[in-house]
C-alpha cells in the first residue's frame, strides 16, 4: 500500500525555487528519509505535505487524501515534529499534550490514557507538570515527538528530529523512531542533514539538492552504486610487482598508485585484505600499513552532487537562513 504519493511538486518563493518538481512515493510502514544540506528544500516539502504551505504547482496524496482538496483529512492522518520547537513554553508539558489532544478531538478518557502512555514512552512522566520553558532542548524534542503520536497518525513527519541534540539523546530518539516504525506500523518521513542518521534509520533515502531529488534508493544500494570499498596499502618495497599481480585479479575493479600508496576498489574489502597480505608475502612485497574505507552516504552525496554536504551548506546556508526569517 502507498502512504504518500507526490507528483511534480513545485514551490517558488518569488524568483527562488525552493522545491523544483519532485515526485516520489512511500509505501505504508516505510521509514523514508530526505537527506540534503540545509536549504535543499526538505522543510518546504514537509510544509507542503502537511498543508501548511500551498504548492506553486503539482500535487500529493497522503494516506489517500489530496493535500489541496482534502486538507482536514490529511491533517487528521498526519503527525508532525517541526524542525524548530512548536511548543507553548508558558504551559506545562502535560498542558501542551492536553491542548493537542483536544484539538484532535480525542475524548477525555482516551486523552488521559494516551497522554500517560506517550509520556512514558519519551520518559517525561515525572517532568510533565513543569513549564516547558524550563525544559532542556532534548526534553522539548521528546515532548514534541510524544505530541506527534497522541492522535495515532498514519504518517509521521520528523523534520530534523535530532538537530542540536547531544549524542546520547540522539541515540535515544533514534531508538524511539525505529521502535515506532516497527511496532506502531507508522509510516515515517524524516528529514536530516546528518549522514549517519539517514544511514542508521532509513529503509530508503531520497538525496535532495537544490530542490531536486538526485537519487533515491536504500542506503546500502546507494553506497554500492559507488563500486565498492577502497583498500589503501602503503608499500615498502616491490610496489610494481604487486600492481602487476592485482591487475590480474577479477575482484579488483580499479587500481591506482600514488607515491608508495596503492588504492584498490573492491567489493567487501574486509574479506579481501587477508588475500592481499598473503599475496604480498608470497611475492616478497612489504606492506607498511593497510586502510579500509567503506563508502559512506557522504561519498554518495559527493558522487551525485559533486560537492560534500558541508560545502553545499556553506554555499547555501546564508540564503536559506534569510528565507526562514521571513
Amino acid at each position: 500500500m502507498i502512504s504518500i504519493k507526490v507528483d511534480k511538486l513545485i514551490k517558488k518563493f518569488g524568483n527562488f525555487t525552493a522545491v523544483d518538481g519532485i515526485s516520489f512515493s512511500v509505501a505504508t510502514g516505510e521509514l523514508f528519509g530526505f537527506l540534503g544540506p540545509n536549504g535543499a528544500g526538505k522543510t518546504t516539502t514537509i510544509n507542503m505535505l502537511s498543508t501548511l504551505l500551498r504548492p506553486t504547482s503539482g500535487s500529493a496524496e497522503i494516506a489517500g487524501y489530496n493535500i489541496l482538496k482534502q486538507k482536514d483529512d490529511v491533517r487528521k492522518s498526519i503527525g508532525i515534529v517541526f524542525q524548530e520547537p512548536a511548543l507553548d513554553s508558558k504551559l506545562t508539558g502535560r498542558e501542551n499534550l492536553d491542548i493537542h489532544s483536544m484539538l484532535y478531538g480525542i475524548d477525555k478518557a482516551t486523552r488521559k490514557r494516551k497522554i500517560a502512555e506517550v509520556l512514558e514512552l519519551v520518559e517525561l512522566s515525572d517532568k510533565a507538570n513543569i513549564l516547558v520553558e524550563k525544559y532542556s532542548g532534548g526534553m522539548k524534542r521528546r515532548l514534541e515527538i510524544a505530541r506527534g503520536l497522541i492522535h495515532m497518525p498514519k504518517v509521521l513527519f520528523l523534520d530534523e528530529p535530532t538537530l542540536g541534540l547531544d549524542a546520547q539523546t540522539r541515540r535515544h530518539i533514534w531508538d524511539y523512531i525505529l521502535k515506532l516504525n516497527k511496532e506502531g506500523n507508522v509510516t515515517i518521513i524524516l528529514t536530516t542533514h546528518y549522514m549517519e542518521e539517514a544511514d542508521y534509520l532509513c529503509s530508503r533515502i531520497a538525496i535532495i539538492d537544490h530542490g531536486k531529488i538526485v537519487a533515491i534508493d536504500t542506503p546500502s544500494r546507494l553506497k554500492d552504486s559507488l563500486g565498492g570499498d577502497v583498500i589503501r596499502l602503503e608499500i615498502g618495497t616491490g610496489i610494481e610487482s604487486l600492481i602487476d599481480k592485482t591487475k590480474g585479479l577479477s575482484w579488483v575493479s580499479s587500481c591506482k598508485q600514488h607515491d608508495n600508496f596503492l588504492d584498490l576498489t573492491v567489493q567487501q574489502g574486509e574479506k579481501r585484505i587477508p588475500d592481499l597480505i598473503n599475496m604480498a608475502q608470497a611475492g616478497n612485497v612489504t606492506i607498511n600499513s593497510v586502510n579500509l574505507h567503506k563508502p559512506s552516504l557522504e561519498d554518495v552525496f559527493l558522487n551525485f552532487t559533486g560537492k560534500t554536504i558541508r560545502e553545499q551548506e556553506a554555499n547555501h546556508g546564508g540564503h536559506m537562513k534569510m528565507r526562514m526569517r521571513r
Binding site: N47, L52, L53, D72, I80, K90, M102, L103, Y104, R147
Partner: protein
C-alpha cells in the same frame, strides 16, 4: 464548521497564560491607574467645556480608562498570534484538523475574558477611589459594551498579526494604530472640543462609541444614545471578526 471543543481549548490556553503572567496584568493595569490617579485627581476641580456641571472629571475619565484598558488588552490578544508565530506554536495550531473560524473564535473568547477581567478590575479600583456608578444593572449593561469593544479590537489585532511576518512592525502598530485610536476616542476629553476634521476621524474609531456608551451607561451622560453606540459597536465587531478570520485563514503560517 464551528467546533466548541476547539473554542474551549483556545480560550483555556489564553486564560492559563493570563493567570501565569502576573507582570502582564500589572503592566496593563498600571497605565490607566496612573492616568486615573494623576489626571483624575489633578484635573478633578477643573471644569471642561463639554462635561456637564454635575459630573466631575474623575467620573468622566473612568469610562475612558476602562475603554483604554480594553483597547490595549484586546489589541495585544489579537496580535499575540505573532508571538505564536515567533515561538512556532502557530504551526501546531494550523496543522490541526480544525476549522480556522473555530480557532479565531476561541482566541476572541479568550481575549474577551482576559480583557473583561482587566476592565472590571479598573472599574472596581476606581469605585474604591470614589467613582459612583448608577447601580448594579448599569454594570451589567457595561459588560455588554466591554465584550463588543474587545471583539472589535481583537479582530483588528488579528488583521494586523495575520499580515505581519514577525515582531518588527509591532512598534509601528503601537504608535500609529493603538495610540491614535486611544486619543481619538475621547477617553480623556470631550470630542466636541476638537476641530471638525479630527472629530470626523474620531467617529470612525469604534472605541469612540465604546467609551461614549460606557459613559451613558455608567454615569448617565453621553453624546450619542446608548442604542446608537451599541449598533455601531455591533457593526464594528462583526466586521472585524470577519476581516480577522479572513486574513488569518488566507495567510500562510510558515
Amino acid at each position: 464548521m464551528i467546533n466548541f471543543m476547539v473554542i474551549y481549548v483556545m480560550w483555556l490556553r489564553e486564560l492559563k497564560k493570563f493567570v501565569r503572567m502576573k507582570s502582564r496584568i500589572i503592566g496593563t493595569l498600571a497605565m490607566p491607574l496612573f492616568f486615573l490617579g494623576f489626571m483624575g485627581i489633578g484635573f478633578n476641580k477643573m471644569s471642561m467645556p463639554g462635561i456637564p456641571q454635575n459630573i466631575n472629571y474623575m467620573s468622566f475619565l473612568v469610562p475612558g480608562m476602562i475603554g483604554m484598558t480594553m483597547l490595549f488588552s484586546s489589541m495585544f490578544a489579537g496580535i499575540s498570534v505573532l508571538w505564536d508565530r515567533e515561538f512556532g506554536f502557530l504551526k501546531e495550531i494550523m496543522v490541526a484538523p480544525v476549522s480556522r473560524v473555530s480557532i479565531v473564535l476561541g482566541r476572541i473568547a479568550g481575549g474577551i475574558t482576559t480583557g473583561m477581567i482587566q476592565g472590571i478590575m479598573i472599574l472596581f479600583i476606581s469605585m474604591f477611589l470614589g467613582f459612583k456608578t448608577r447601580g448594579i444593572f448599569s454594570i451589567f449593561v457595561a459588560l455588554v459594551f466591554l465584550i463588543l469593544i474587545a471583539t472589535t479590537f481583537i479582530g483588528l489585532g488579528l488583521v494586523f498579526a495575520s499580515n505581519m511576518k514577525d515582531m518588527q512592525g509591532f512598534n509601528l502598530i503601537m504608535n500609529f494604530v493603538i495610540f491614535p485610536l486611544f486619543f481619538l476616542s475621547g477617553a480623556m476629553f470631550p470630542l466636541q472640543n476638537l476641530p471638525a476634521f479630527v472629530r470626523f476621524l474620531a467617529h470612525l474609531d469604534p472605541l469612540t462609541y465604546g467609551i461614549d456608551g460606557l459613559r451613558g451607561v455608567l454615569i448617565g451622560t453621553s453624546s450619542h444614545s446608548i442604542g446608537l453606540n451599541l449598533i455601531a459597536l455591533v457593526v464594528s465587531s462583526l466586521l472585524m471578526v470577519f476581516l480577522g478570520t479572513y486574513f488569518f485563514e488566507k495567510n500562510e503560517s510558515v
